[in-house]
Amino acid sequence: MTLFGPEELSQQILDPGLCTLCGACANICPYIKAHNNKIVTIFSCDRTEGRCYAHCPKVGALLDKMSQFYKAQSFTENPIGEYIKIIKARKGVRAPEGDFQNSGVVSSLIIFAMEKGLIDAALLTGKDGINPVPTVVNNRDGVLECAGSKYIASPVLSMMGQASDSGIEKLGIVGTPCQITALSQIRQNPLGLEEFKNNTALSIGLFCTWALDGEKFMKYLAPKKDIESIKSMDIPPPPAEKLIVKCEDSFMEFPLNEIRKLKLAGCGICPDMTSELSDISVGALEGFNGWNTLIIRSEKGEQLVSEAMDQGFLEIGTLPDKCFKNLIIGAVNKREQAVKKCMELGMLDDDFKKAANLKDKQTITGVS
């Protein structure tokens, strides 16, 4: 992978609006920040190689992978990535109750991992109303407060440095495919930094087809509903085709074809539906209310699932064939559409990744 710096990241991803807000570039960096669910640059940086670029799931790993698919004409191969086992699962009897989206599998696994000492704390997405807020938690209550899908993109990885600074050595992370891709980039230490410490002990990836652009969504909702009064949101499985906004004692429905217009443009170039680079991936299971699809990808993930079952934190079952087939179809579709979109945008052209012209450096000393 060719490494560049923040200027190229802006030109290739941020300025064209292709960022999906994983937050990796804003992690530690004093120039790039995540604020109000946006990635912003507060001072200019003229580094020609930087973590911001190296960790970006869009410009780094993703594009290289897409190029491989494209060149080998095999982008439908393995559409849900490498895995050991794929099953259905739900929280076990010993796991606490909570306000879960489906079956509480993610919360149960995180609580179990924390209580057995696999992780010290977890980096999750909490919420303030319907605004997602990256949150570090280290107990059951904290995890339960973060339960439930958020639908709005949130810069979870921007908190990694802070978590590390606070002394957390074994961090569990729950993220969407772009976040998990970025996380795998971070863990590979692409700049070969001597000081690098990998403090990620567990990654749980979520299934994702797209996320909402927070700013656009709020603008859409504002004239229709008092945003402050909204408690939660839900997109029920097909064929519902709607988004339900729940308030204290009322709810509103919005047609999904309208809501889709408010998704992040960057989701359109994402080829990963199932968080292929996680230890464990979790997603919805159509037709089986109260169950989730669970993909075990690493030995660590396999061991965690096995122990969680043994200790009553997880219950599993066989994934019905039909569900598996539908999952593959969905994943292939997402990948095909992403490759098509990348081609349209010229992102797979050889000259797409080129060094920016850094003539206009903002440096007071003039010394580069």
Binding site: C29, P30, I42, I364
Partner: protein, 635 residues
């Protein structure tokens, strides 16, 4: 007794002249290059009422009150201040004065300490006010003294125009006697309404007062014909007559001397430049082959003498005129002897080289190798650096293309990279908030950019309040950030109405800025700009609030202020284990962006370094470093 010559700065010579004239009232607003005049008076002449006024218009009014009450008075300001005072100035010129009154206006050719190149002399013509221009330090003293007499004789304000190189350079002055006279102030108003000394003081009836004004100017012209401040040196019938004013006289004479043209060129130095001593000028031109005008900023004498010459063409025919209008003298910037030498070389077709080629090469090499590449930056420990760092960060976080309207003070540097290029408009005193008030009203045309204005504490009182009132009353949307460093810092810590100290250094009632802003109706908060986190949070809340007028007062005393200078709250050091240089990924935000002169990047050691001598221990850089590698230890 033999006269003793003393070395005086031009501004001190002006003070000496005013004291010798028995000035009783002096008022001004600080502004380079004029500030030393009121400063010196306030420190050396306790029997004179000296005042730093809230702005130049009020200073002129306070001084005029002195004149009306029978006290010789002085108003002092830099040129842009004359613009502020212009409205009253025009009326004062028409109403006339009583006791001698002088306006010292300090122009800044080359804009060395200004953001314009205004020429006060045009006001003399525009408003019909006699104008004097001292050409050296002795004249600065003598001419000031005479200006009071002239003013009394004419019953008109007199303008004395100085420039940076006269005000701030020093030369020998033989001081005269100080007029010691007890004066009781009393304002007469019961006389005949048209009696300038006992009636009401006003511009009406305009037709009568206007005709009087022309009579005064005519009288001044007569007096100027024989004034000793107009001098001519050189041959009686020169090939070239240089007509010059002010400090340019010295440049012209040096150029003539260097080129050994003293047998071919005469220099007519005019000290009384409005109204022009027309007969004197015509007489000199008549005997000359050609004329070169040497003056700074506007072609003022050039244009007006050309008008005179056109009227006298029948006497001495067509002459060749060189000057700004013929592109021989630059229209912009300061002049110097080298410029005049080049012009004379051109006119006389002379060879002259001020330095040898070998010397120039050595000098150029020295400049290249020895001078560090460095832009203008805020001083170590300057609160403005912290303030602009936060403003810039907040606008970046908000990410709605918000921008900052600047104002006049040290913080004008916010327009440069040293201030993170935060300021996007910069004009006159108070204009930042006026512009912001306008920008903040354009939401009906789809403008959604957040608007910030910055304004200093002294500037707030000077001209920042009216636009704030305007913004509140007209329901504009903006955040005014008042950078309160407790003094008029840029010009030398002169007090302003916000402080509990008067011009004489004694206690005085201070007007609280926050109280004023709240009374005007703006939501007002105060933060310490050194507390980056709190300042950021407060400003973000203001910016993200879409409607209304907010004021954020960032209060922290200037690092160079007498009460703070030398004190150091923190000892700063670098944690060498944590500052890992290029590996860090911070891209040297401390030295490349934050750019405090006390922070140095040690290239060899690939690490930041604190210059303990420069560091004021403000502690802010410790918050800038993303790796906590800058340590602060409370002293």
């Amino acid at each position: 007794m033999e006269a003793v010559s003393s070395l005086m700065m031009g501004n001190q010579a002006i003070v000496r002249g005013a004291v010798e004239a028995g000035v009783k009232v002096a008022a001004g607003y600080p502004g380079t290059p004029s500030s030393e005049i009121i400063d010196t008076l306030s420190k050396t002449a306790p029997d004179i009422y000296t005042e730093w006024s809230v702005n130049e218009k009020v200073a002129l009014e306070v001084a005029a009150a002195g004149s009306f009450a029978g006290l010789r008075s002085l108003a002092v300001m830099k040129q842009p201040g004359v613009n502020v005072a212009a409205d009253f100035l025009m009326h004062l010129a028409l109403s006339g004065t009583r006791a001698g009154m002088v306006l010292v206006a300090a122009d800044d050719p080359g804009a060395l300490s200004s953001i314009n190149e205004g020429d006060t002399r045009l006001y003399s013509k525009l408003m019909g006010i006699p104008l004097l221009e001292p050409g050296n330090f002795q004249e600065a003293c003598d001419m000031t003294k005479w200006a009071f007499e002239l003013s009394e004789q004419l019953k008109s304000l007199v303008i004395l125009r100085t420039v940076t190189r006269l005000s701030h350079a020093s030369g020998n002055v033989i001081a005269g006697d100080i007029k010691k006279e007890e004066k009781k102030a009393y304002f007469e108003f019961n006389g005949n309404m048209l009696d300038p000394m006992t009636g009401i003081v006003t511009t009406i009836p305009v037709s009568i007062k206007h005709s009087w004004q022309h009579e005064k100017l005519h009288q001044a012209g007569q007096i100027f014909e024989t004034s000793g401040f107009n001098t001519c040196e050189g041959p009686e019938n020169p090939e070239l007559l240089i007509i010059t004013t002010s400090i340019c006289d010295l440049y012209a004479k040096e150029a003539v001397d260097v080129l050994k043209l003293d047998n071919r060129v005469a220099v007519l130095k005019l000290g009384t430049t409005w109204p022009l001593p027309s007969k004197l000028v015509q007489n000199k031109i008549q005997k000359a082959g050609a004329v070169l005008f040497v003056e700074e900023i506007q072609p003022f004498i050039e244009e007006n003498i050309k008008v005179l010459s056109a009227g006298a063409a029948d006497k001495f025919g067509e002459k060749t005129y060189f000057g700004k209008l013929s592109n021989h003298i630059p229209m912009i910037g300061e002049l110097n002897p080298d410029i005049i030498i080049k012009v004379l070389q051109q006119i006389f077709n002379l060879e002259y080289q001020s330095s040898s080629d070998s010397y120039r090469k050595v000098a150029e090499k020295a400049v290249e190798n020895c001078l560090p590449e460095r832009e203008i930056a805020f001083c170590p420990g300057c609160p403005h650096r912290a303030s602009f760092f936060t403003i810039n960060k907040v606008l970046g976080l908000d990410n709605q293309d918000g921008f900052t309207c600047g104002d006049i003070g040290c913080y004008s540097l916010g327009i440069l990279p040293g201030g993170f290029s935060t300021i996007k408009t910069l004009h006159a005193m108070g204009s930042g908030t006026g512009l912001a008030s306008g920008f903040g009203k354009f939401s009906q045309f789809g403008m959604e950019q957040p608007i910030i204005s910055v304004c200093g504490d002294s500037t707030f009182f000077h001209s920042g309040m009216p636009p704030l009132v305007n913004a509140v009353h007209n329901e504009s949307n903006l955040t005014m950030v008042i950078l309160d460093n407790s003094g008029t810092a840029m010009t030398g810590f002169q007090p302003h109405p916000g402080l509990s100290m008067g011009t004489d250094g004694k206690s005085a009632p201070g007007v609280d800025i926050a109280d004023v802003c709240r009374a005007i109706g703006a939501e007002t908060k105060i933060c310490d700009p050194f507390n980056l986190e709190k300042t950021e949070k407060t400003l973000l809340e203001f910016i993200e609030k879409t409607r209304g007028v907010n004021v954020l007062i960032l209060k922290q005393i200037c690092a160079l202020s007498p009460e703070k200078k030398g004190s150091k709250p923190f000892n700063m050091s670098i944690d060498k284990a944590k500052c890992i240089g290029e590996e860090c990924g911070c891209n040297r935000i401390c030295t490349r962006i934050f750019s405090c002169p006390a922070l140095i990047w040690n290239k060899e050691k690939n690490s930041a370094l604190i210059n303990d001598i420069l560091c004021t221990g403000c502690g802010v850089c410790a918050e800038i470093c993303p790796s906590d590698a800058i340590l602060r230890e409370k002293i």
